[in-house]
Symmetry: none
Subunit: 124 residues, 2 copies
């Protein structure tokens, strides 16, 4: 699971199934980097994920809580409409997470644009 640094934002692109050990490794990896590097935000792109089950929902919530404890904000980008419907049906409304439509919006929200440094400070 690659974690890409874009300035002070970490970009994680989830694709397909995330198994237990990979999820745990990802969580630790993000925690280490958020604590070590000057990371202001973590963007998790789930546009390639067609099914979010309760396990993945918990992993996403835990990544967000861990990042928050380490002073970074997590933004979830690109959720498919069918995934949103399923999550709500499962009662998993992810209150810990800010969601936006795509990575561009996530970077704008964190005050970054893909093309350069601090463009504007997005609202919450």
């Amino acid at each position: 699971m690659p974690v890409l640094a874009l300035g002070d934002v970490l970009l994680v692109t989830l694709q397909g199934d995330l198994h237990d050990s990979a999820a745990e490794r990802l969580q630790h990896d993000i925690a280490e980097r958020v604590a070590r590097e000057p990371v202001a935000g973590v963007v998790i792109d789930i546009s390639g994920v067609e099914v979010v089950d309760s396990f993945l929902a918990r992993v996403l919530a835990e990544i967000a809580s861990t990042a928050r404890l380490l002073a970074a904000r997590t933004v979830l980008a690109g959720m498919r409409p069918a995934v949103a419907v399923t999550l709500v049906e499962l009662g998993l409304t992810l209150p810990e997470l800010t969601t936006v439509l795509d990575v561009g919006q996530a970077l704008a929200l964190l005050g970054r644009t893909p093309s350069g440094p601090r463009a504007r400070q997005g609202g919450a």
Copy 2:
């Protein structure tokens, strides 16, 4: 457990294990000082703490709640990434607490810098 006053900020540096009686004394000490002195914020530096269990998490949350009732803000500084992961695994996400990477950032967030008065108001 020394509580250091830096202007109107109290700085508490936790090291190693905190036993029950010490935790209770610390909580009372902070409450007394916040009520007696013009304290705007309490910074708890836990960079020297390698293990946070549910007891310490509860103590931290109680200190924050007590300080808040006495009109001071508590900022937790220097949490290690492994500690953040463990806390989240235990379901202890410390929503009452603002966390930052180090004491410098905590002072900046509270509008103080180590070298002088109010420098900038950091975001949450």
